[in-house]
């Protein structure tokens, strides 16, 4: 290793590490308010106790399409934005947060496309009625038959509803001094089983009912403190309960004080109340608070995002090593790959800890896991072959799968609760993990074969030794893929037999998995039977990409079957494009070798001289 200097290696690793942890060193406060601490408060939403920060991020992603909000005076973090929505609604209404990309939607609402694609709530107010009517019209159409415009208008309506519910989660929007309202309530109420008889005004009772109905999340923990998620309350529910029971949860006071202090721009009171409340929850529910803290750090680090970025760098380094400085660049790429794999794994393990689940629970996590599995296998390949191919291919798959995951995360919380039939860690840990590893390895074999075809046909860099080692890699990975996809598919059958008495039901997702098994079996048998040789193996392995992407995404787009995840129309053209590109690569792979830039096959074959092609 004379060409590489160890200190450069360390520098590269250190720089990567610095890039990964950098988000932790962002400012904690915003205008004097301790926003990071605020974001770590646990609340209940969609059956899961999570930090307020997660609520903020997912809501902003759904509404805005991004995790940060650019304003004229700098960038807002999700929790800054949510704090405004919850406690200073007038200012939040002016933020240009709603993204509309569909020009038909703009026209239908009478908004001008010249105004850009971001709009504030205030700008919608004159068009709300029209929007409601359009959404109601679209709702009547069967979801699978809706036009792009109809889907967009329904989505916009849902986003506005979400925003409206968020605004009315802590207090009724526009409340001037929530704290004093609650103090008045405590002073004047005579608790009674019938809320009307407590002396509360009809108007005030109605607004409490509205708060209980509209509120989006559940900020009030159980009293007396316990671990049961069913006992968390919305702000309004807690206040209505107070009317009948006469006991006000201390958390109601704390949230109200914070809301009032925030609206009055009084950071001192806000921070003091926040400190006290956080300490109280910490005493009552230490485990939940710890998890919320872990989740909030996880949110901030966004390990999958940083890993995605570094995978690009690794690919460039490893692919570069085929042209210049093979040893040095190859080593840097490998070192980076290992560091990035650790980051990727860290993210995966944290998710598993937070969810209390095996790694794959939904489409999002399957993308993360496919990338992870492919990178792990790639590391092994690189360790043995040391030719940059394992690193480059792994990095490529890591990047693509994490990019897919990034887009899948736009739909909101990626740690959802598991529906009844899926609520079984045993099968999630075996069947789902096996099948997903089967996907990962089939993709890896396919991308290795792509490397072979691209390098062979377009560059002179594919020599005989490399071609042979690629063949061994592809063959080995196909064996691995056969093992995992077969076992995983049969385990799925056994799960089905266990949960609804049918080992095999020809459900689209089952069929998809079966296709992968069959294709891998075909590759192996064709190879053993001598029906294909090196290039044939490569071309077949590339088709494995098509089969796997169909099984992973295509069958979900059929919108039928027990396994369907919902209609993902936007991904459909991408799937078609991917399939077409793979077929194109297969065609290139089938071109006569004299058209290839790399002429490695000539040296190998002891062909008689007269067969050599006519020079062009």
């Amino acid at each position: 290793m004379k060409t590489s200097r160890p200190w450069i290696l360390w520098l590269v690793a250190a720089a990567t590490f610095a890039y990964v942890v950098a988000p932790l060193f962002q400012s904690d406060t915003w205008g004097g308010f301790e926003m990071r601490k605020f974001g770590r408060l646990p609340v209940l939403l969609n059956g899961r106790i999570k930090p307020l920060d997660t609520v903020a991020r997912n809501s902003l992603l759904i509404i805005h399409g991004k995790q940060t909000l650019a304003t004229d005076h700098g960038t807002l973090t999700p929790i800054d934005w949510l704090a405004e929505v919850l406690m200073k609604q007038d200012e939040a209404d002016l933020r240009k947060v709603f993204v509309i990309r569909n020009s038909e939607t703009l026209t239908a609402l009478g908004l001008s496309p010249e105004a850009g694609k971001y709009f504030s709530f205030r700008e919608f107010v004159p068009h709300l009625q029209e929007l409601e009517q359009q959404a109601a019209l679209a709702q009547k159409v069967d979801p699978q038959l809706r036009s792009a415009f109809q889907r967009d208008i329904i989505k916009l309506f849902e986003r506005l509803t979400l925003y409206h519910r968020l605004k009315n989660s802590l207090e009724v929007e526009g409340t001037v001094n929530f704290k004093s309202q609650i103090d008045d309530l405590v002073k004047n109420i005579r608790p009674s089983p019938v809320p009307m008889n407590t002396g509360i005004s009809a108007e005030a009772l109605q607004s409490l009912g509205f708060l209980a109905e509209t509120g989006y999340f559940f900020p009030i923990p159980p009293f007396p403190p316990n671990d049961d998620p069913l006992q968390w309350r919305k702000m309004g529910e807690s206040l209505v309960a107070f009317l009948t029971e006469g006991k006000l949860h201390l958390a109601v006071n704390s949230w109200a004080t914070m809301a009032t202090a925030f609206a009055a721009n009084d950071p001192a009171t806000f921070n003091k109340t926040l400190d006290n409340y956080a300490a109280q929850v910490q005493r009552d529910l230490p485990r939940r608070v710890w998890k919320a803290k872990v989740e909030s750090v996880f949110n901030q680090l966004q390990p999958f995002y940083s890993a995605m970025v570094i995978y690009v760098l690794i690919f460039i380094l490893a692919a570069g090593s085929w042209l210049v400085w093979p040893k040095a660049l190859g080593r840097y790429a490998f070192a980076l790959l290992v560091v990035t794999f650790i980051v990727h794994s860290g993210g995966l393990i944290t998710r598993m800890y937070l969810e209390g689940r095996p790694p794959v629970t939904n489409l999002y996590s399957s993308a993360v896991f496919i990338g992870w599995g492919a990178v792990l296998l790639g590391i092994f390949l690189e360790r043995f072959f040391r030719n940059g191919i394992g690193s480059a291919t792994a990095a490529m798959i890591g990047f693509i799968t994490l990019l897919i995951a990034h887009h899948l995360s736009m739909d909101g919380d990626t740690m959802e609760m598991m529906r009844a039939v899926l609520d079984t860690n045993g099968w999630l840990a075996t069947h789902v993990v096996c099948v997903t590893l089967g996907y990962a390895s089939t993709f890896l074999a396919g991308f290795l074969a792509l490397t072979y075809i691209v390098r062979g046909a377009f560059t002179p860099s594919l020599d005989r030794a490399t071609a042979q080692s690629l063949t061994r890699m592809v063959y080995g990975i196909v064996c691995f893929a056969t093992l995992f996809s077969f076992v995983g598919t049969i385990l799925g059958g056994i799960w089905a037999d266990q949960s609804w008495g049918r080992f095999w039901g020809w459900d689209p997702k089952e069929n998809g998995a079966l296709l992968i098994v069959l294709w891998n079996a075909i590759i192996l048998h064709a190879r053993w039977g001598g029906l294909v040789r090196q290039r044939g193996l490569m071309v077949m392995a590339v088709f494995g990409n098509v089969v796997t992407s169909w099984s992973w995404f295509g069958v979900n787009m059929l919108g039928i079957g027990l396994h369907s995840y919902g209609f993902m129309d936007s991904a459909f053209p991408w799937l078609i494009a991917f399939g077409a590109s793979q077929i194109a690569f297969m065609m290139i792979g089938l071109l006569p070798t004299h058209l290839w830039r790399s002429q490695f096959e000539k040296a190998k074959s002891p062909a008689p001289t007269q067969v050599v092609d006519v020079p062009a």
Binding site: L44, L45, N46, G47, R48, F218, P229, L230, W232, F384, E416, M417, R419, A420, V421, D423, T424, W427, R472, G476, C479, F480, T482, L483, F486, V487, I490, L491, G493, I494, D497, Q498, S499, W500, G501, R502, F503, W504, G505, W506, D507, P508, N511, G512, L514, L515, L518, W519, A521, I522, H525, A526, W528, G529, L531, V547, V555, L558, I560, G561
Partner: protein, 390 residues
């Protein structure tokens, strides 16, 4: 090119073809095509029709639009499975070697053989039925969700009913049906697998009904295509004429869309006619004590469904409580009861009842294949690593 060799006819060449890897690859390829087309077809045909037409069939036919032709275009699941099975067995018979190197291959292929056989047996012999039990109700039978029967019930004795059940396939054939226990014959005038029923008052211009008695006179029936949706049931209907010794007693419209029993009296016996889902009586009964539907906090996402039932079996002296929940079925006397659905505001449970004599085969097959693959590939891997590190 060498000169053509004229081979004498021998038994070896068909055997060579049958046992060739080429045939394996062709079969697997056709299998992929079949599975892919079968998946796409589900969008329009529904899963049940696709299963019958693509996977539980010998050939798949294509009818050019406008003709009544049936052109076979692809081998169906049963044919492909059988050929693969024969291919596998002959390949091993012809080239069998019990060596350490072949151990993994033999194990895994034996697993595949078991798997294919198991699926064939399941397709032929397994039966899936359903039980819908209301809270507090006791039920001693399960029903076929996609098959009806015509029940002729002698309700004269208040202590028990005597039932003659005529299965759907007999009804569909039409014609006269006679049973030794009935003093009359049934003449099936028309049978409709799926029908739309409407009151005559809503469609006054419709032709007169074939029914001469019962509420069927006032009902207009039209045959419609069978449903392809998993969550819908067909409403079947039939016009049935009852012929006594003294001549016809009348023609009834019988349908599972008509809930009230229709009956007549003959020779002092009272009979009822009913179209209902085909029943399979059990030697035991289940009483639904309670159905529970848990949701996650603050959501409508179902967390669990479970049915608390009492199992009563006089023959075997069983009388105990059982909980059937998602992923946790009850297995009893060769039947497996799975939590499948619910209805009626969480007051009715729907249990899937499966009897599958080949149930264990996939489990054994899975073990064998997994073991075989691991043995085979780890031999490759270790050989490879040894070579690299040397």
């Amino acid at each position: 090119m060498s000169e053509a060799v004229i081979r004498p006819f021998s038994l070896k060449s068909p055997l060579r073809i049958l046992s060739s890897l080429r045939l394996t690859v062709i079969c697997l390829g056709l299998g992929m095509l079949l599975v892919f087309l079968g998946t796409l077809a589900q969008v329009h045909l529904g899963i049940h029709a696709v299963q019958a037409r693509y996977f539980q069939s010998l050939l798949i036919y294509w009818s050019p639009p406008g003709t009544g032709w049936k052109i076979p275009v692809l081998p169906g699941g049963y044919l492909l499975g059988t050929v693969l099975l024969v291919n596998l067995i002959t390949a091993h018979a012809v080239r069998f070697q019990l060596t350490r190197k072949k151990l993994g291959i033999i194990l895994l292929h034996f697993g595949v053989i078991l798997l294919l056989t198991g699926q064939l047996l399941t397709g032929l012999f397994a039966r899936e039925t359903q039980m819908r039990i209301d809270e507090g109700q006791t039920l001693g039978y399960s029903e076929a969700p996609r098959e009806v029967e015509l029940a002729v019930i002698d309700v004269t004795d208040p202590n028990f009913d005597q039932v003659v059940a005529i299965p759907e396939e007999v009804l569909a054939r039409g014609g006269t049906i006679q049973s030794p226990t009935l003093p009359f014959t049934l003449n099936v005038r028309q049978f409709m697998g799926n029908a739309h029923l409407a009151m005559r008052s809503q469609e006054p211009q419709a032709p007169p009904s074939q029914a001469t008695t019962g509420p069927g006179k006032n009902i207009v029936v039209a045959e419609i295509p069978r449903t392809v949706k998993d969550d819908e049931r067909d409403l079947s209907a039939a016009f049935v004429e009852v012929d006594g010794v003294q001549g016809p007693l009348g023609t009834w419209l019988i349908s599972n869309a008509i809930p009230d029993p229709q009956g007549f009296t003959l020779n002092g016996h009272t009979y009822e006619l009913a179209m209902r889902q085909r029943r399979f009586y059990k030697q035991f009964a289940l009483t639904l004590l309670d159905f529970a539907h848990d949701r996650y906090a603050g959501t409508d996402i179902p967390k669990n469904f479970s049915s608390r039932v009492r199992l009563i079996d006089f023959e075997r002296n069983e009388n105990r409580e059982v909980v059937i929940s998602m992923n946790d079925p009850l297995r009893y006397r060769g039947f497996t009861f799975y939590q499948s659905g619910f209805d009626n505001n969480d007051k009715t449970t729907i249990l899937q009842v499966v009897k599958n004599p080949a149930m264990l085969l996939p489990y054994i097959a899975c073990g064998l294949v997994a073991l075989g693959l691991v043995v085979q590939f780890s031999m490759h891997l270790f050989g490879f690593v040894r070579k690299r590190t040397r």
